[in-house]
């Protein structure tokens, strides 16, 4: 057993740190740290810098223009990026669609779409959930009907993150109602500028509108935009979900949140002393820090097993649950640490805000926004169902 990074991995970490040091604009890092709104330019600018370095698609094989990193390298990159408060790479093209096209797409689709993901020509979003199909995703009803060399799409998608910036959406659509509900689903690539596509923002409880509803009204999609085979989309969708696993634990985000919590607890005054010295509060921080120490090693153990070729099982479900629990506990403690100062609404426009309160507002915004962590990507209850299902078989 050896818990150290190899010399190669340490050298890689140094490269990542040096890159973040020189390329990450401090003002952008400040916005990320304070949970402030990132513009499309902010995100695209960061993508472009990573692409110039060849690091935008760490998870892609080199033959497709990716960096071909190991799971450990990806982990290092994600952790260092989080600690430096770099914007996270928008996952829809890079982490989600890319691996599906590489595995199931035609040669033409790969040649056409993959370079456009890397160079920023396309901004992808994800059309999975529907108003009636959330946790029960296979119950989706958005319909695609083949008419000659086109599919005609009618229906609605929802929770479409950053759909307002996207020009392309990959969708799970129903192409058959026969047999099991999982068997009539297809994976379709849709140009959002096609007539009949409407995007409507959904304002969330933190005041932001990062998610949207997307409506399809007789939208004509060229049949060549079907990925793989008709009615096999569920297989591709599941592949996509398992492929998005390396950063599911969010160790880097949690570590950055813990550092911030320690800083806040040292600065806030409680009974005339720093809050960090209050035994009740300090032991709550300690308990979650100890959880993070273990989860970080759970994450590395699972990455290391995957790197040695062990088939991924229920590990990502376990990391999803524990990782989101830890982050939500950290968010709650951070907001609590501010006590009576944490009452203002995070900025929603130009309506004013309390003085010297950027970080307090960030704590509130983060708490509100991160309620999503235990809901998206398969809610934690869905993950428990997956784990229990595997335990019942094992």
């Amino acid at each position: 057993m050896d818990m150290r990074f190899t010399p190669d991995e340490l050298a890689f970490r140094d490269q990542v740190r040096a890159f973040l040091q020189t390329e990450l604009d401090p003002e952008l890092a400040r916005k990320v740290r304070l949970h402030q709104h990132l513009t499309k330019d902010d995100m695209e600018g960061w993508h472009a810098k990573l692409h110039a370095r060849g690091w935008l698609a760490g998870n892609w094989p080199t033959e497709f223009g990716g960096a071909g990193w190991t799971a450990i390298q990806r982990h290092i990159f994600e952790e260092e990026s989080a600690l430096a408060h770099a914007p996270r790479i928008v996952p829809f093209g890079i982490a989600m669609l890319g691996p599906v096209l590489q595995k199931f797409g035609s040669r033409e689709q790969q040649d056409h779409w993959l370079p456009r993901i890397l160079n920023g020509d396309d901004w992808w979003c994800q059309g999975y959930s529907e108003p009636g199909a959330g946790s029960d995703l296979a119950g989706l009803r958005c319909r695609a009907e083949r008419q000659g060399d086109h599919y005609v799409v009618n229906g609605q998608k929802t929770w479409t993150t950053l759909g307002q910036y996207a020009n392309m959406i990959f969708c799970l659509v129903r192409t058959s109602t026969e047999g099991k509900k999982q068997e009539g689903i297809s994976f379709l690539l849709i140009d959002m500028t096609t007539p009949g596509v409407t995007v409507r923002p959904i304002v969330l409880l933190d005041g932001t509108a990062e998610v949207n509803e997307v409506f399809f009204d007789d939208v004509r999609v060229p049949a060549e935009n079907l990925v793989g085979e008709e009615n096999q989309g569920w297989t591709y969708a599941k592949y996509l979900l398992t492929h998005e696993r390396t950063n599911i634990a969010g160790v880097g985000f949690a570590t950055a949140a813990l550092d911030n919590l320690h800083r806040v607890a040292r600065a806030q005054i409680h009974r005339g002393r720093p809050l960090a010295e209050d035994p009740v509060f300090a032991s709550e921080i300690a308990a979650v820090e100890i959880e993070l120490m273990a989860m970080s090693t759970t994450n590395l153990r699972m990455l290391s097993a995957a790197a040695q070729g062990q088939a991924p099982g229920i590990e990502s479900s376990m990391l999803k649950i524990k990782g989101t629990q830890i982050r939500q506990r950290l968010d709650a403690l951070t907001r609590r640490a501010y006590g009576g100062h944490a009452l203002a609404l995070p900025a929603t426009g130009n309506e004013g805000q309390p003085q010297d309160a950027d970080e307090v507002l960030a704590a509130t915004a983060t708490w509100l926004n991160n309620r999503k962590l235990s809901i998206y990507g398969g809610s934690n209850e869905i993950q428990r169902g997956i784990i229990a299902g595997a335990l019942a078989k094992g």
Binding site: M1, F5, P279, S283, R301, K322
Partner: protein, 332 residues
């Protein structure tokens, strides 16, 4: 980054598993000694041949899984401490480690005091004391050696929750040899915490496996219990916590020889995590079983009692959490 067992440790694990299926009760200790398992707990300097965190973790996990109740942890701690202090380590025999005191939770040196070269006072919950060839005793800040037949020493034996025998020690001006300051023995004590934690992890996995088997096989309302979501989700949560516990043991075993401050943080984190998860598994496994889980006849009973001892020995989760939060070392 490599979390695999080495070839040597895999062989050790195989041989240990074989012994644990063939021997129980009185025959187990000599079989372990003969197979070199006990010597594997000590380093070469201490008269053994391994003593690494990985070896200690794997041996006690297997013992915990098998439900073995032997005073091996105090023997290991005392052996390592005696060797470090330049004393001869009695071979093949039980050694005792007297740490807890009545009425003081985990504070040391309240019920016992040193006066020159003698100790007066009480120690309690001393596993293996009745059979020990040497007894190590803690005071507020020092570690002492007391011979079993020393004048003024009285032992009162009793059964312990984990199936071992323990004893109260009553010392009245009992001659003792000071081995050194307690803080100098951070490494043997850390190895003791690792052993307790790994033993608990072994018991945890055994109890969770037994519980899952039961959930799959027991039917109510015409269906296996695991098909009921309220139970299935609790089982899933247990599985997640088992991995947390495993990682905490990996962290301490990987940092056993690290700098004292880093080692102690992992020690505290490990003890907090194992204490918490052991309690959770003890409580949940009984509840998920229902009434059968409370019967002495069923295998869970012994596991539950052993799980409850895991938290209590060498500082419980609350005690270590408090010191972790304050940034204090593991031992005063």
């Amino acid at each position: 980054m490599d979390f695999q067992l080495s070839d040597d440790h895999r062989m050790l694990q195989d041989s240990l598993r074989g012994i644990l299926t063939r021997h129980t009760g009185e025959g187990l200790w000599p079989a372990l000694a003969e197979a070199g398992v006990i010597a594997a707990l000590l380093t070469e300097d201490e008269g053994g041949f391994d003593g690494s965190g990985a070896a200690v973790a794997l041996i006690f996990q297997e013992l915990g899984r098998a439900g073995a109740a032997l005073p091996l942890i105090p023997t290991m701690i005392a052996g390592a401490a005696l060797a470090q202090a330049g004393h001869e380590v009695p071979e093949g025999t039980v050694l005792a480690f007297a740490d807890a005191e009545p009425g003081t939770r985990y504070d040391r040196g309240v019920a016992i005091r040193a006066d020159g070269d003698s100790l007066t006072g009480r120690k309690t919950m001393v596993a293996g004391a009745e059979d020990a060839a040497a007894i190590l005793v803690t005071t507020a800040d020092a570690l002492w050696l007391v011979q079993p037949g020393a004048p003024g020493l009285t032992l009162r034996g009793y059964p312990m929750m984990d199936g071992q025998r323990g004893a109260d020690l009553i010392l009245e001006a009992t001659p003792a040899t000071r081995l050194g300051a307690l803080s100098d023995f951070g490494r043997p004590l850390a190895r003791g915490v690792l052993a307790h934690s790994a033993h608990a992890l072994g018991t945890i996995t055994a109890a969770v496996d037994l519980t899952l088997d039961y959930l799959k096989q027991r039917k109510q309302f015409g269906q296996p219990l695991i098909s009921f979501q309220a139970l299935a989700h609790r089982a899933a949560d247990l599985a997640v916590e088992v991995e947390q516990a495993r990682s905490a043991v990996v962290n301490l075993s990987g940092h056993l020889t690290a700098d004292a401050s880093l080692r102690d943080r992992h020690l505290q984190a490990c003890k907090v995590t194992l204490g918490r998860v052991a309690r959770l598994v003890a409580e949940e496994s009984v509840q998920l079983h229902g009434g059968i889980g409370m019967t002495e006849e069923y295998a869970l009973a012994g596991m539950v009692r052993r799980l409850m001892t895991a938290d209590t020995a060498m500082g419980d989760a609350d005690w270590h959490l408090d010191r972790f939060a304050r940034g204090e070392p593991a031992w005063a």
